[in-house]
Each structure stands twice: as C-alpha cells, then as structure tokens.
C-alpha cells in the first residue's frame, strides 16, 4: 500500500521527507506535498522524519484522512517532482504548535 501526505503538511511544508525519499516520489505545489503512489516503494523512510506526522501508510490511516489517497494520486500526476529539501513555509512553526507537535 502506498504512503500518503495529508493536510497536516498544509501551512508547514517542512519537506524533510524529500531528502529521505530513496526514489524521488514527492511532488509539490505551494500548499503542500503529495506522493506519487506509482513511484513510492513503501519503505516508510518519510514517516518518522515529518515534524507534524503528515504522512501515513494507507494501512495505518485514520478513516477521516482516506480522501487524501485520491488527492495524492491526482495532484502528483500534474505537479513537478521536488527532489531536495526547501525552507518551510513562514507559517510552519505556528502551524506545528497548533497541531500539537
């Protein structure tokens, strides 16, 4: 089962995950990142490095996050690959605190 980026990434975009991905499966817009499920090898390296736990293995995903499976597939197919870490969004620290991390 693929891995999925969820809404915790919004207003954060820490992008730590990107440097840890062995196969460059992350795509990005200005809001957040998305995983291309056809490229992801399900290694899970991205999960523990996300400061806001935005990434799930589909198997472990709460039901309310399930819509993100389709969103990741669709958005990844139309956005460029992000292959190295970038600076987080200016709102990242505040958002991280708001999410309780």
């Amino acid at each position: 089962m693929p891995h999925i980026v969820t809404d915790n990434c919004q207003r954060c975009r820490f992008t730590e995950c990107v440097d840890h991905c062995p196969v460059q499966c992350f795509h990005a817009d200005d809001e957040q990142l998305y995983i291309n499920p056809d490229v992801c090898v399900d290694c899970g390296a991205c999960i523990p490095v996300c400061p806001v736990q935005a990434i799930y293995d589909v198997v472990d995903m709460p039901d309310d996050k399930k819509p993100w499976v389709a969103v990741n597939k669709e958005r990844a197919s139309m956005l460029p690959i992000i292959s190295t870490k970038q600076d987080p969004l200016p709102t990242a620290k505040a958002r991280q605190a708001e999410l309780g991390f």
């Binding site: 062995p22 399900d42 899970g44 523990p48």
Partner: protein, 455 residues
C-alpha cells in the same frame, strides 16, 4: 549538467562503495552547480551494495531504488570501477593524490559477535552471513546452514532480524518467483524449522522492528505469531516512553505483541515466538549447537535510557540454529582513522577527523559514517549532508587528473576492472538466466562467472 562555470577546473571525486549512500552522494554531487567528475570504486563487479545483497528477495519493491541509481550511473560525468578493492588494488592515499576528495561509502559489513561461551559452535551464524547467502553474495555462497532442527533462534529485534525470520518462516513457494539464490531455495525447501524464537534483550517497547515489518511477519500464511503475556507487561518507565508522540512506531508494535500474547491457538506450519528481556549467556553443545542458555534481564534506568540488567533467572531453549543480528561495524581502511568502539570512521557531519582535526579531502557517508541505522532513504539525507560539506571545502585550484591517473595505476597492477557498460551485460545475463525459472533474475554468485560473461 549545464550552466557550470567553465573557468574552473573539474572537481575529481572518488567514491568508495556503490551502495545507496554512495549513489546518493553521486546524485548530490551531480546536482550541484560545480563541474564534477565522479569515479565510483566497488569491490565487486556488481553495483548497488545492500540493495542487491541485503534487501530481502521478497521485497522487490524496495529494489526499485536501483532504477534511480542506474539513472545516476548513466550520467556522462560518472564512471564505475567494479571489481576494484580500495585498500588493496588502489590505496586511499593514492586516491587522495589523484582526486580532490575521496568519499568513503563502504558501509558496515562486519557483524558484531557474541562474546559468550560456545559462540564458535557449528550452527551459530551471523544474520549477515545468512542474508548474504540467500541473496547470492559471492562472499557467502559457500556458507552452509543446517535447517534440520525444528527450532531456530534469532538474537536481535531489528529489521535484519525480521528479514531473516521471514525467510525462515515463509512457505518456500512464496520465494520461488523472487531473485533469491538457487542454492538457498534448495536448502529452504528442505527446511525442518517449525519454531523461530526472536529474542530481544530489552522489553517489547524497545523492539526496533518497524511496525510494517512486524505486521508482515505476523501476516505470513501458515504461520502463527506468539508472545508471552507476562513478557508484554510494561513497567512504568516504558509506559511513559510510549506516551511520547514520536514513539508511535513502538505503540503499534506493542499493539501487535499484545495480540500475539492473546493468541492461544496455533494454526499453520510454523510458529514465531517474540521473546523479551533475555540475553544469551552461553551456546551449548558438544560438536554443534544443541541449546542456548539465556539469562533473564530486568529493565533499569529512567525512561528512554532503560538498560537491560541481568537477574539470576535463566532459561534454556533447545535449538539447532542461531542467527545473531545485534549490530554491524565498519571495517578499518589503511590510512583512515577508525573508531573501534563504534565501528565507524570518526567524522563531523561527514568530514573525516583525526582527533579534532579534519583530514583534508577525506569524507564519509552512510553506515560507515553514522553506524548501521536507518533504511535506504536515510542514506540520501545523510549523503546530502556529507556532499554539502565536501563541496564547501573543495577548491578547484589544484589540478587533479582523476580517472586519467587512476586507470594507469589499475592497468599496471593488472586489475580487471568492470565498467558500468560491462555491469549492464552481467545484469542482462542474470535476467536471462532467471527467465525460464520465472524469476526476475538468477544472480551470478561467483566473481569468475560474472567476468566470464564479459569474455
């Protein structure tokens, strides 16, 4: 690579080792805005390190990382020198003369041993040997593993332990369409192993398995996973550890161990027992391993730094095979500092240091840098860090000849080096050999077989 400054000399970089950390270092170098040439030196004729010889044959998806490395290797600024042993065919000091920087990425392939009586008995092996054997690594093809006893013991609870446990537990038909070495498939098909004990020195909250690996083990068809209820009871310190949000993997593991402990019925051919707070005290047997005596541990210390401390209780498990997976060490290289305690090359963020002093032009990445932790992708972030520092230090002012100076050295020493184009021929031949067996490839397990393809 375009847009690079043509007025500067080309930076000549030698990378020793062709596993994930070496390839991700190459990727980061090639992505930089500097004019870089990379010579990657590998001991075997085949590239990709543990992705080829470590990743379990029934995890083909993880091996898709190879497509990324293949793309890196095809860059015109990259050369592969397979079948060249750094430290024997060419010294690190020589590479430092021919290249601006030498980046060590040769991993940690020596296993930690058990310093207990009987550890040399037949039937006692490192998990590394077993992994290398079933993955067709030339160093391990001749090893023999006696699977005629019903009980096998695995010491350690990390992902390597999970891999070897799964290979022992899985019905062999589930491996036939993988790239597992033929010799291993034959032995596994005759396996009498029915019970596998996977032993941790600390408690269930400290098992290092990723929840994913553990779930996979429990889900093998024809296998039941068990744990002892009394060993799954947490002390106060462990409970506090699990409250940390960063510890969600351990929480998931614990849910599964709890379910195993409630599992009373045994169905299927094989059983896996997850055992905790036990340390091997002696391997027992006359001519070969017959049993292991364990001492029970008690956890001591504050949350997040609890240590296993021996009690006077003991337990003996009769078994015919033990695989230890209790950590790995790098191997010292001539002319390179080495931390014998940690088994790594001492470094600060990838800059090799001797005492406090950075050694000019010498860098390290991957397991040899940080120790044997993390998974494939962890090495990408690690190598990005090392390369950032390497490029920060590197000066193009000095002219280095790189491969133009390396090649005459190898030729004078009659080293039969293997280029990337030649590896692709070996690769194609392996894939061809696998076809009639329905396998993605049948690996060559001897270096002379690989070289014969090129004649």
């Amino acid at each position: 690579m375009s847009g690079k400054d043509a007025s500067r000399q080309t930076l000549q970089i030698a990378i020793v080792g062709s596993g994930p950390s070496g390839f991700y270092a190459a990727e980061a170098l090639l992505r930089s805005d500097r004019d870089v040439r990379i010579d990657m030196i590998e001991r075997l004729p085949t590239p990709y390190g543990l992705v080829r010889s470590g990743v379990a044959p029934d995890h083909p998806k993880l091996k898709q990382a190879i497509a990324v490395y293949d793309g890196i290797a095809r860059d015109e600024s990259f050369s592969f020198f397979g079948n060249v042993t750094a430290g024997r065919d060419v010294s690190i000091a020589e590479l430092q003369r021919t290249h601006h920087a030498v980046l060590l990425a040769c991993g940690a392939h020596e296993d930690r041993t058990l310093a207990i009586p009987g550890s040399g008995l037949a039937g006692s092996h490192s998990a590394t040997e077993f992994v290398g054997w079933y993955n067709g690594h030339p160093d391990f093809r001749h090893r023999t593993f006696d699977l005629s006893h019903e009980v096998a013991v695995i010491i350690g609870q990390g992902n390597v332990a999970a891999d070897v446990c799964r290979i022992l537990a899985k019905p062999v038909d589930g491996l036939r369409d993988s790239d597992i070495a033929e010799h291993a498939l034959e032995v596994l098909a005759e396996s009498k192993v029915k019970e596998i004990h996977v032993i941790g020195r600390r408690g269930p909250a400290h098992a290092k398995f990723t929840a994913k690996e553990l779930r996979e083990l429990a889900g093998i068809s024809d296998v039941t996973a068990h744990a002892k209820p009394e060993e799954c009871v947490l002390n106060e310190e462990s409970r506090l550890e699990l409250e940390g949000r960063a510890n969600f993997n351990a929480v998931k593991n614990l849910e599964m161990f709890g379910a195993f402990a409630r599992q009373v019925e045994t169905r299927g051919q094989r059983r896996i027992w997850f055992r905790f707070c036990l340390s091997p005290a002696a391997l027992v047997g006359r001519d070969r391993l017959e049993a292991i005596s364990f001492v029970r541990n008690r956890l001591e210390g504050p949350p997040f730094s609890q240590k296993a401390s021996a009690t006077d209780q003991t337990e003996t498990i009769s078994c015919g095979l033990v695989l230890r997976s209790i950590g790995y060490r790098g191997v010292p290289l001539d002319g390179v500092p080495f931390d014998g305690l940690l088994g790594v090359v001492p470094n600060v963020a990838g800059r090799v240091v001797y005492g406090e002093k950075p050694m000019r032009g010498l860098y390290v990445t991957g397991w040899l840098k940080r120790g044997p932790t993390g998974i494939i992708g962890t090495n990408r972030a690690d190598s990005i860090e090392t390369v950032e520092n390497l490029l920060g230090d590197a000066s193009e002012e000095e002219v280095k000849s790189g491969a133009d100076a390396l090649l005459p050295l190898l030729e004078a020493r009659r080293v039969r080096w293997v280029s990337f184009a030649e590896w692709l021929k070996i690769d194609a031949a392996e894939i061809e050999r696998g076809k009639d067996k329905g396998k993605p490839r049948e690996k060559f397990t001897r270096i002379d077989e690989m070289l014969n393809v090129l004649e």
